[in-house]
C-alpha cells in the first residue's frame, strides 16, 4: 500500500494540484482579458469602457459570467443534440489542455515532453472541430456558413504556422519547448527570424478567429456565426475557449520568438525579476497587440483572407525555411 502511495498516489495528487493551479490562473487571466479588451478598445475610441461594477469596473467579468450562467440553455429544434452539446465542451477543453506543455519558468511545466511544440500544433489544429461541429449541429444556415468559413480559414493558416515552427526548430534542433526557450539565451528569435515572427503573429490572429480575420462570426452578415444558436453556459464555454486559445497563442509566440521566461538582458536588475513575470509580461504584450489590431483594422474580405494565406504567406514562409536552412548550413550554425 505504501508503495502504491509513493508510486501512484502522491504523483497523481501533485499533478492534480499543478493542473488546478494552472487552470485557475488561466481562467482568471481570461476573465481579465475580456475586461482588458473592453477597456483598451474603449480608450482607443475615447470611451471609458466598463466602470460601474466594482472599482474601475474590475468586477465586470464576474458579473458577466454570473449573468451567462443564470440564463436559460436553449436547444434549438432540429439540432443534433449530442453533437450540439459536445461542441462547446471540446472547444473549452482543447483550449485548456494546451497549457500542459507550456513552460512558465525554467522547469515550471506540468509535462516536459519531447515533442511539446508538435503537441501545441496538434491541439490548435484540433480546435477547428468545436466550431465545425457547433455550426453543423445547430441546424441553422448562419451558424453553418460561419463554421465553414472558420474551418477553411483555420486549415489555411495552419500551413504557414507549420512552416514558421519548422524554421524555429531548424535554429533550435529540438521539439521541446523548454529547449526552444534555452536556445534563445544569446538572442531572442524575433531578431534573426523577424519576418517569420510577423507571419506567426498574423497567422495567430487568423487561427484564433480574431479581428481583422473574424469572418466566422462577422456580426454584420452572419449574426454571430457558428455560436448563434448557443446560449447560457454553452455560449460561455465557446467564449472561454476562444479567449483562452488567444492566451495560448500569445504564450506560443513568446516561447518561439520572445524568449519565454528569459529576461531581455542577462544582467541585474533584469535577472532579479522571476522568469514567470517576464513570461506573463510578454504574453500581456502580445495580447495587447491582439486588442490593438482589433480596434484599428477593418475586417478582411473572404477572398483577401484566402489570398493572403495561400498566395503570400505560404510561398514566403516556404522560401524563408529554405533561406534559414541554407544560412545555418553555410555558416555552420546548425545546433548539434
Amino acid at each position: 500500500m505504501a508503495e502504491f502511495w509513493t508510486g501512484y498516489g502522491l504523483p497523481t495528487l501533485i499533478i492534480l494540484a499543478q493542473i488546478l493551479g494552472v487552470v485557475i490562473v488561466v481562467l482568471i487571466a481570461m476573465a481579465y482579458l475580456t475586461y482588458a479588451e473592453r477597456k483598451v478598445i474603449g480608450f482607443m475610441q475615447l470611451r471609458l469602457g466598463p466602470n460601474v461594477v466594482g472599482p474601475f469596473g474590475l468586477l465586470q467579468p464576474f458579473a458577466d459570467a454570473l449573468k451567462l450562467m443564470l440564463k436559460e440553455t436553449v436547444l434549438p429544434t432540429g439540432a443534433n443534440r449530442g453533437v450540439f452539446m459536445i461542441a462547446p465542451v471540446i472547444t473549452f477543453s482543447l483550449a485548456l489542455v494546451a497549457w500542459a506543455v507550456i513552460p512558465f519558468d525554467d522547469g515550471w511545466v506540468i509535462a516536459d515532453i519531447n515533442v511539446g511544440i508538435l503537441y501545441l500544433f496538434a491541439i490548435s489544429s484540433l480546435s477547428v472541430y468545436g466550431i465545425i461541429m457547433a455550426g453543423w449541429a445547430s441546424n441553422s444556415k448562419y451558424a453553418f456558413l460561419g463554421a465553414l468559413r472558420s474551418a477553411a480559414q483555420m486549415v489555411s493558416y495552419e500551413v504557414s504556422i507549420g512552416f514558421v515552427i519548422v524554421t524555429v526548430l531548424l535554429a533550435v534542433g529540438s521539439l521541446n519547448l523548454s529547449d526552444i526557450v534555452r536556445a534563445q539565451e544569446r538572442v531572442w528569435f524575433f531578431i534573426p527570424l523577424f519576418p517569420m515572427f510577423i507571419i506567426f503573429l498574423v497567422s495567430a490572429l487568423a487561427e484564433t478567429n480574431r479581428a481583422p480575420f473574424d469572418l466566422p462570426e462577422a456580426e454584420a452578415e452572419l449574426v454571430s456565426g457558428y455560436n448563434v444558436e448557443y446560449s447560457s453556459i454553452t455560449f460561455a464555454l465557446f467564449f472561454l475557449g476562444e479567449y483562452i486559445s488567444m492566451i495560448v497563442m500569445s504564450a506560443m509566440t513568446s516561447i518561439l520568438f520572445l524568449g519565454g521566461w528569459l529576461p531581455p538582458f542577462a544582467f541585474a536588475p533584469f535577472t532579479w525579476v522571476p522568469g514567470v513575470v517576464w513570461f506573463a509580461l510578454k504574453i500581456a504584450f502580445i495580447l495587447f497587440v491582439f486588442l490593438w489590431v482589433r480596434a484599428t483594422l477593418p475586417r478582411y474580405r473572404y477572398d483577401q483572407l484566402m489570398r493572403l494565406g495561400w498566395k503570400v504567406f505560404l510561398p514566403f514562409s516556404l522560401l524563408w525555411v529554405v533561406v534559414t536552412a541554407g544560412a545555418l548550413i553555410a555558416f555552420d550554425w546548425l545546433p548539434t
Binding site: N114, L118, A122, V128, M133, W136, V155, L175, R307
Partner: protein
C-alpha cells in the same frame, strides 16, 4: 505498469468501439466523428509505445487536416435517411454475396502469404539506439540517410497527385470579376481623378 496496461486497454477498447460505430452509425457525420475518435485513440496507443512523434503527426495530419476535409464533404451531402433505409432487404443478398467473395479472396491471399526470410533483418538493422536520442531524431536520421530516395519518391508522388487534382478542378469562368492587386496598386490618381475649379456662384 498497471497504469500503462489500463491506459492501453482504455485506448484500445475505445478505438475498436469507435471503429465499429464508424460503419454502423446511421448518420454519416457521426461516422466521421467516430473516425476522428478512432484516430485519436490510435495516437494514444502510439504514445504508449514510446513513438510520440508518430502520435503527434497522426493527430496533426489525419485529425487536423484529412478528417476536416472528410467532415466538410459529408456535411455538404444532402442525404435522406429514410430513403436510404428503403430497399435494405432487397439489396441484402447481392451485398452479402459480394462481401463473401471479398472475404474468400482475402483468406486466399493471406493464407498463401510468405514472409521473406530477410524481412526480419531489414526491419531491425538500421535502427539507431533509442536510449541515446529521441525517436524524432532517430526517425530523421533514418529517413534522410538510408531511405532518402524512397522518401523523395513519396514526396514526388504526392506532388504529382496535388498537381493532378488542381488541373482536374481548375476551370476558368467567363464574366467573373476578380481582384488584381497589381492593377490596383499601379493605379494613379491622375488616371481616374480630375480636379475642376468651379468658380463661385456658377456651381450646381
Amino acid at each position: 505498469m498497471i497504469i500503462q496496461a489500463l491506459a492501453f486497454y482504455l485506448f484500445a477498447i475505445v478505438a475498436v468501439a469507435s471503429g465499429a460505430m464508424v460503419i454502423s452509425s446511421r448518420n454519416p457525420v457521426h461516422s466521421v466523428l467516430f473516425l476522428i475518435l478512432a484516430f485519436f485513440n490510435s495516437a494514444g496507443l502510439f504514445v504508449l509505445l514510446g513513438a510520440e512523434f508518430l502520435a503527434m503527426i497522426l493527430v496533426v495530419v489525419y485529425v487536423g487536416a484529412v478528417a476536416v476535409l472528410f467532415l466538410f464533404v459529408v456535411m455538404m451531402l444532402d442525404i435522406n435517411f429514410s430513403e436510404m433505409r428503403e430497399g435494405f432487404l432487397q439489396y441484402l443478398p447481392i451485398g452479402g454475396a459480394i462481401g463473401l467473395v471479398l472475404l474468400a479472396e482475402l483468406v486466399l491471399i493471406f493464407g498463401s502469404w510468405v514472409v521473406s526470410p530477410e524481412a526480419g533483418e531489414v526491419a531491425v538493422s538500421p535502427t539507431p539506439p533509442l536510449g541515446e536520442m529521441s525517436n524524432t531524431a532517430a526517425l530523421g536520421q533514418l529517413i534522410y540517410t538510408d531511405f532518402i530516395y524512397l522518401f523523395q519518391a513519396a514526396g514526388l508522388v504526392l506532388l504529382v497527385a496535388m498537381i493532378g487534382a488542381i488541373v482536374l478542378t481548375l476551370r476558368k469562368r467567363e464574366g467573373v470579376k476578380r481582384q488584381v492587386i497589381a492593377d490596383q496598386v499601379s493605379r494613379r490618381p491622375g488616371d481616374v481623378l480630375e480636379i475642376k475649379k468651379v468658380p463661385s456662384g456658377s456651381g450646381g
